[in-house]
């Protein structure tokens, strides 16, 4: 039995990595597979300490690659274990093949990811290319703004992944270094509260159930493959509802509500930015500053990227006084019109018959700083778009000239 450490709620000075490791300790997974990669390595350093000190019951597996880490989690989850791993950037890229195996086998593996740029050139700092590269591998994807959100999202992810209407892997991203290595206030739940919230997994088709033998991950030829994929699509649609339910229940527990999107001063906004991750926090501060000057600006933060909350996004835009929208992507889609978030927002609007001037903004690649001035620049681009001025499909923020 795991030792109880947190018997009362506390606000602690934690980095994103510390908060994630604390969530893992409180979840007390059956199996955790680990392979080091900056800036994720720390999570497993902290967790390995918990294992060594007997604070968790976890079978901790150190493996030889990220491909192996997720493969080990797949095997464990198929056996019926609550399995987790964590990675970053190129590590997630190396997991790519197995991500599809995990989702195709409908295994509820929870994967915290520390968002890091992909090579080349080699870069250890933040952007969202890693998760965007894994976008179509069938995993639920949440993005956290800060360390506390990452803690809260990882705890909720267990419930979301294991819900029988869903049973899909969940990837939870936080921005590398900006969140993973920065200390801020994090409000923790008690061990018992987390234990009760995540509950026990209901065993479904366990490989170890020898009385009811099953096969996992067999071949499916042209006569059945599409039915599997169609079921995955339905599971992902169900996840939309389950994520909301988990968020509501979490709000009852902690008082902080988690929805698919978070809106900030959009009601009467004429210019709206849409963003994911830590830049949303900086953007909120910028919105406050511009509002003091009388500018009608607002922000939509997307928390759930898969399944994409297209209704939520359009409803908020529709209820505002928007004249133009800027969508901020921390990833490239080379050769596409703009970034992946931009494309989702455009599709959401068009399919509801809502056409607004909209422009793509790429920022923060490879850890490039995105500060107040850059968010103001982004709003300037949106204003130019609203005024009918010529704006390129993609504007790069804070680019050296």
């Amino acid at each position: 039995m795991a030792v109880r450490l947190m018997t009362e709620r506390k606000v602690v000075p934690y980095t994103g990595n510390m908060a994630t490791a604390e969530a893992l300790r409180q979840i007390n997974p059956d199996v955790v597979a680990a392979y080091p990669i900056t800036p994720q390595t720390e999570i497993m350093h902290f967790f390995a300490n918990y294992v060594a000190n007997g604070l968790v019951d976890t079978e901790f597996m150190t493996v030889e690659s990220e491909h192996s880490a997720l493969s080990a989690a797949v095997g464990a989850a198929a056996a019926g274990a609550r399995a987790m791993t964590a990675t970053a950037g190129p590590g997630l890229a190396l997991m790519w093949e197995i991500l599809g195996v995990a989702s195709g086998m409908r295994l509820p593996i929870v994967i915290p990811v520390v968002n890091r740029a992909l090579s080349a050139p080699i870069n250890i700092h933040c952007d969202h290319s890693d998760m965007m590269g894994a976008r179509d591998q069938g995993c639920i994807m949440l993005f956290s703004e800060n360390a506390e959100e990452q803690y809260d999202n990882v705890i909720q992810a267990v419930r979301i992944a294991e819900d029988e209407r869903v049973r899909l892997p969940v990837i939870i991203g936080m921005d590398g270094f900006i969140i993973s290595h920065s200390i801020e206030n994090v409000s923790l739940l008690t061990d018992d509260e987390v234990k009760k919230f995540v509950g026990k997994q209901t065993l479904t088709h366990s490989l170890l159930d020898i009385d009811n033998p099953v096969t996992h991950g067999p071949i499916a030829m042209a006569d059945s493959y599409m039915e599997f994929k169609r079921q995955q699509r339905e599971a992902m649609m169900n996840a939309y509802k389950v994520i909301r339910e988990a968020g509501e229940e979490f709000a009852e527990l902690k008082g902080k509500k988690y929805e698919h999107i978070e809106t900030y001063k959009t009601e009467d906004a004429e210019y709206i930015l849409i963003v994911m991750g830590s830049a949303a926090g900086t953007a909120k501060y910028t919105v406050d500053g511009l509002r003091e000057k009388g500018e009608k600006v607002g922000l939509i933060k997307v928390r759930t990227f898969r399944p994409f909350p297209y209704y939520d996004v359009v409803d908020v835009i529709d209820a505002s006084n928007v004249k133009a929208i800027g969508v901020m992507d921390r990833a490239e889609t080379f050769g596409g019109y703009s970034g992946p978030l931009f494309e989702e927002v455009c599709t959401s609007l068009y399919t509801r018959g809502k056409i607004y001037p909209i422009t793509g903004i790429v920022y923060g690649l490879g850890g490039r700083d995105c500060n107040l001035n850059h968010i103001e620049e982004a709003f300037d681009v949106v204003k130019r778009k609203a005024a009918g001025m010529d704006v390129p499909p993609v504007t790069y923020l804070n680019l050296r000239v």
Binding site: S182, I183, G281, L372
Partner: protein, 188 residues
Amino acid sequence: MIEIRWHARGGQGAVTASKILASSAIRERKYAQSAPDYGAERAGAPLRSFNRVSEEPITLHCMVLRPNIVVVVDPTLLKTVPIFEGTDENAVIVVNTDKTPSELREYLGVKGRKIYTVNASAIAMEELKKPLMNIPMLGAISKVIDALVSIESVEEDIKVTFGKKISQELLDANLRALERAYKEVKGE
């Protein structure tokens, strides 16, 4: 909100000091951040670290642009990195040097700003026998800025951070270094 920028070299403990400062502020039920500017991490290379301390929640997640306080841990950085970047006339500059504040002001040729000096290198060598100037610098800034954190909170956090990792003797030496810098820092 108070924003701080640290200038140091890799290996001098500035990142740890910045973390201790944020932890101490959170201990006092304030809101705080500590964000190192991670580059190519190697001993001796110039580095920066940032702090924010506030009575209100902090949503900013970017580098500090206009610091209220600049801490220079290594005096050899005074003229090699732009230590005054983004500071206005009211900024507070806390420097590890054997110079007095007025000597330093003349050396740097700077007007305005409040300048504080403390010989953290000497304190570190005498108390810790090593050039670890981070803890004395923490002592100095907790003296200089009343509203930041109390020295008691910093002491408490040093005990938590170092407690199990170093000997009682070394922990006591760190606390003495903190206390001495708190008393010896001078300003104008």
